[in-house]
Symmetry: C2
Subunit: 431 residues, 2 copies
């Protein structure tokens, strides 16, 4: 089949006119669709409504150890909440601290704590001339936002099919003691949907780092967010904590997870798991910051989700809603972009995103065209440190929020915009 | 009436033997009572149980502006939650940011933010050689804990009947640019129960500070926590924000409040109010730390408390439970300590504490004796920076948690311990 690359300038001009006509028609429809953020759809939120009725009596408010969860206390989380979150964090309850409503907040606070006070006896990062960070990209914009806020120099490392480019990571961290950490979304990564291979996890755990206080921020945001019920079609990442301990680096990883996309974003619970030494240090310092987090919300989650099997059952209901959306997006891309050279996209088995790569130099234009036609995408570049995609090619597609019929319309717009931007770019080159 | 000071050494020895006998009897009872922390009693927590049933349907989860509170978003709080908290903060909703479950956490984060990034263009405090802080004492131990954690040099200033010793405060802050802030609990202070006079508030607002970025951390924790329903028996502190703006120092105060002792400690909501410039700065930085706080819990509070009148009605129910406890404590001290010289105590109209001063050099001993007899008090010294009470005299009594009959027993123990420690101290002097 011929592709755009095979077309003459005249043919491209004709195609452009045709696409502009299509685009004008779409624009005239006055759409208002959103594929920008990884937000659950209303149907997903509805799944957790029974949770809101689960804590209403004194008995409901009383933890297994007799704690009245309505009152002050319990810095690091109720034992039953730790046990629940330990299943998501793939760790032991005693290594878990339960926090408030967002793992992003834990990650920020964890970095801030080390920034101000240091960790395990090392100098506070805020007192160093330069602090650098490994940022596998495309990655999560809010991660990059945190390191940028602290003035940390972000070093982009490519994401491969099995995780970050480990040759590059190993080379960098071995040579430079100012490199203090790495952002990782190890399961169904944001946005690529990549799950780190066992080898990548082991290399991260065991690599030589020039900085003794090098930390892996292991944001396992999508650890139970499979699109398929069949275990063989699910990804389960190797536990970085166990691998790090085996490699003699027990304090290296800090693992994060939350129920934001399990129950309610903004009204979920979040947790961290780390080595006993790290947990002790964090508890000591966080005890100055707070008396404890919301234990009634911890109880709601314990009652509603119960345990690992309860989470699995509940996540299967999410998957039933999400799977058709992911399938639709991939189908639309498959059908619509066969003639456009230089396009590729992920087909993930879980998570919240599809990562799209268009022809170099077109991503910003595509997002702009889509916006003008009433379809909001994540900003082009957002998946790279400093919002700078060196190829201006990557766009994160977030298909979860819109209902299926809206997603259908939005993807038609998106495909048209990709085609138009591709033709524009080809014509530009002929000039 | 003769007092201990009038007794001869022999009489003191006899009295000591008698008190030791009483103490031994108490100890034998194996009590386990707690007057250590400002925790609401179970009966108070029961008052807010209907709140737990207030958000169960989609309609309940939908804010006035249509926001689905179950999903991500709304960084600074729902409009209706801002309006509710504005009544507590004595400010306009647009100057309010609603946070998570604890104002302590806001205060820590606010200080940390300035520590790391500075405020209004000034140098980050963490980059200065020395940072000092005014600590009116006796005061709140967790405040002092925060400044101690940051290595801030705490300067104790006496608390008078109408607030901090302003002559001293003015003298200090005018002379030293490294003094960056002051802790204030302006209504029914912890532990003294003092409400700042209008004059003190105006002097704080208008005083010359050598530091351009001097900040008043205005922890109005007990702003609606009156013990009496009659408005004439209630304290209402002058608004520091208005006073500061009038004095040309709009960015000086940062006001904090929470519903921790209105609904549920640990499952309440908290808020900050500040100048438009401060609010803009904080929102910009906190947007890196979080996507937003728990909006469902904001909705619960809005439904349950409704508005200023709703809060007043609810707090009157708290007062009905608390008033007899405060009255009992004061009665026990009045009745039991007439003969003991050098004792004084507050008789507050609100808040959570009674501040007790025993003879110099006895506080630690009293707390120790009480503990051995099964009554846990706040640690002696806790009400001073670095836990060092220069007179070893002040003890914070927290009468709210125990039921009335337990409080009765606990106060008998306390009074006996004060007497015994006083006699011991007098005998020590005769040696």
């Amino acid at each position: 089949m011929p592709t755009y690359a095979d077309l003459s300038t005249e043919e491209l001009e004709a195609l452009k006119a045709e696409l502009e006509q299509t685009y004008a028609e779409i624009k005239a429809r006055g759409l208002k669709l959103n594929m920008a953020r990884g937000k659950p759809a209303q149907a997903q939120l509805d799944l957790s409504m029974p949770m809101l009725e689960s804590v209403t009596t004194l008995k409901d408010c009383t933890a297994q150890d007799g704690t009245d969860c309505r009152n002050y206390g319990v810095l690091d989380g109720l034992p039953e909440a730790k046990a629940l979150m330990a299943t998501m964090l793939d760790d032991e309850p005693e290594n878990v601290i339960v926090f408030g409503n967002a793992s992003l907040n834990i990650m920020y606070d964890t970095l801030a704590r080390i920034w101000m006070f240091g960790t395990q006896g090392e100098k506070p990062w805020g007192q160093l001339d330069t602090v650098k960070w490994i940022c596998p990209a495309p990655g999560y914009d809010r991660h990059f936002g945190i390191t940028e806020e602290f003035g940390i120099e972000m070093i982009t490392v490519p994401m491969n099919e099995d995780g970050p480019d480990m040759d590059e990571v190993e080379r960098l961290v071995a040579a430079d003691p100012s490199i203090k950490g790495i952002w990782c979304v190890p399961t169904y990564s944001n946005p690529g949907g990549v799950t780190y291979s066992d080898e990548v996890v082991r290399r991260l755990a065991s690599m030589q780092t020039a900085a003794p206080d090098f930390r892996i921020f292991w944001d396992n945001a999508y650890c139970v967010h499979h699109l398929f019920d069949n275990p063989q079609e699910q990804d389960h990442v190797l536990d970085i904590a166990k691998a790090s301990a085996e490699a003699g680096n027990p304090n290296r990883p800090l693992k994060f997870a939350s129920t934001s996309k399990v129950t309610f974003p903004g009204a979920g619970i979040s947790a961290l798991a780390a080595s006993p030494e790290n947990v002790a240090e964090i508890k000591k310092r966080m005890g100055v910051q707070t008396i404890g987090h919301d234990k009634l919300n911890q109880m709601r989650h314990v009652y509603f989700l119960q345990d690992a099997q309860g989470i699995r059952n509940h996540m299967a209901k999410h998957a039933a809603i999400l799977r058709p959306k992911f399938e639709l997006v991939v189908e639309k891309l498959n059908d619509g972009l066969t003639e456009v050279d230089g396009c590729s996209w992920s087909n993930p088995r879980g998570g919240y995103f599809i990562s799209f790569n268009g022809p170099d130099g077109t991503a910003k234009r595509v997002v702009e065209l889509a916006k003008e036609a009433g379809v909001t995408m994540t900003g082009a570049g957002a998946t790279y440190p400093y919002k700078k995609d060196p190829h201006d090619a990557n766009i994160r597609i977030a298909p979860t929020l819109p209902p299926l019929e809206e997603l259908d319309a939005a993807m038609d717009v998106f495909v048209t915009c990709v085609k138009l931007a591709a033709v524009e770019k080809l014509l530009e080159k002929t000039k």
